[in-house]
Symmetry: C2
Subunit: 258 residues, 2 copies
DNA sequence: CAGTGGTCTAGACCACACT
DNA sequence: GTGTGGTCTAGACCACTGC
């Protein structure tokens, strides 16, 4: 549990290979990460105070602060002055979907209200080669495939299919998805203990096939954004592959560069 | 020049309006920002050491560090241990284009080598309503419009038009653009003292018109990404509006979410 | 070697939230 | 008031770079 400060500068330097030096605050960060991953601290709950953690790990408050700072920048923790530090969650994100970068062309985000979600189905099937590659499984391993449509102001805008490893999501059904009122990632947190922590997206322009065009109520030949998302839990474990088709008639994918 | 530490906690609190409290390190950050904007420190050059700055502003090194830390996170400064802190530049970005998120579907970034740039033209004209809105000008104000094609491995992939306010870019010509070997933003830094600091992009799926399709060597009806970029200098001043058409036959727009 | 940024500490005080 | 995170300081020492 406790970390001996004396091991700070030189822990794994004996073997001839790399330097393998890691600062104390990085070691603390790893310990915090372990506590997050193990579920010791639940989504949305407060973690111990900085002084408590400093005492627990036998380091100064400043060192704990630096570790927490980095986890806050990575959106794993949320600091609230006067109240404490909390485990980040998708459940209370003011913007309803933290990973959804689609914004209406006119009006602000709240003008069109919450999305209407329509679950098409949730099937158990065997991973294709492509799905297996993304999720770090073997082809043929059992996966769940969810299909749904999101509409904004009654206008269908997003058609997406997503694949989840069957193991961690055992028991997920279309009915459960339909009855849940909130972001899907919030359901994953509360029901399956899976927190999506970061994601990578690959975006292309495509034309839909007849079935896709029908579901999105667009004419055949209408160009759409294809958004392929791979979402990760802790330790960079891929946990969801998602294939989305976005109509950009009245919306755009918004991105900030710096 | 120097900041009196005694004014740290309460500078503008007299007027009845807002709290207007800002921590010391934020004030230091503003001063650093001023020095960057005024050109006191050139692109790529080293700024004074932390101890020098601490002495200049009469604060502790830690306070300067925190200010620099934030500017480094925003990619305005670059820290290099043992050497110093440097003004960020687009000239020495190992990845040739810092704001270009297009990546090849297969192979790494270096596999296809540097882009072949073809400047189509560079015209002086009057800002349309849309361009004026983006660049915070008045419709009819003089702007420069540059058009070019980027090809990767001889395959034309990006067609883009960009608009610049004529004033700050006085003297920019197609010939100057053609003869410059390096990112356009690097030329803007060295020739016009304009550093692009951040940008916002809006992405949609579109089909090109006949002329666009011909320039990109794609069949009519091929879906393309439309990437509208607004780039800013210091103080959030918009300085470039760019309209790009990306072919996603062999590439994709890559984005990281966290 | 000197100079730079990077880490760590210990303590003081401030701003904010709850009770 | 008490407890939380946020700021600021002063000083020590480490790690990296280049002379």
């Amino acid at each position: 549990m406790a970390v001996d400060p004396s091991i700070s500068t030189d822990t794994l330097d004996a073997a001839g290979s790399g330097p393998a030096f890691s600062p104390l605050y990085q070691q603390i960060k790893s310990l915090l990460l372990q506590s997050l991953q193990s579920g010791e601290w639940k989504s949305g709950a407060a973690i111990p105070s900085e002084l408590d953690l400093a005492a627990r790990y036998r380091v100064s408050q400043g060192t704990v602060r630096k570790a927490i700072d980095e986890l806050a920048v990575e959106n794993l923790l949320v600091r609230r002055q006067g109240k404490g530090t909390f485990v980040a969650t998708h459940a209370e994100d003011h913007v309803q979907y933290r990973f959804l970068k689609l914004a209406p062309d006119a009006g602000d985000l709240s003008s069109e209200g919450p999305a209407q979600r329509t679950i098409i189905d949730c099937k158990r099937l065997r991973a294709s080669a492509e799905v297996a590659r993304g999720l770090a499984l073997r082809a043929g391993d059992p996966v769940l495939q969810v299909s749904r449509v999101l509409a904004f102001g009654a206008v269908p805008t997003i058609l997406e299919h997503l694949w989840l490893p069957a193991g961690p999501f055992k028991g997920l059904t279309a009915e459960r998805l339909r009855s849940y009122d909130g972001p899907m990632y919030a359901l994953f947190e509360s029901e399956f203990g899976v927190r999506m922590v970061r994601a990578e997206e690959k975006i292309r322009a495509v034309v839909p096939d007849a079935e896709q065009a029908a579901l999105l109520h667009v004419a055949p030949g209408t160009p759409l954004l294809s958004v392929e998302r791979l979402a990760f839990t802790y330790k960079d474990t891929p946990m969801e592959l998602r294939q989305g088709l976005y109509s950009t008639q009245n919306h755009h994918y918004r991105n900030a560069l710096s």
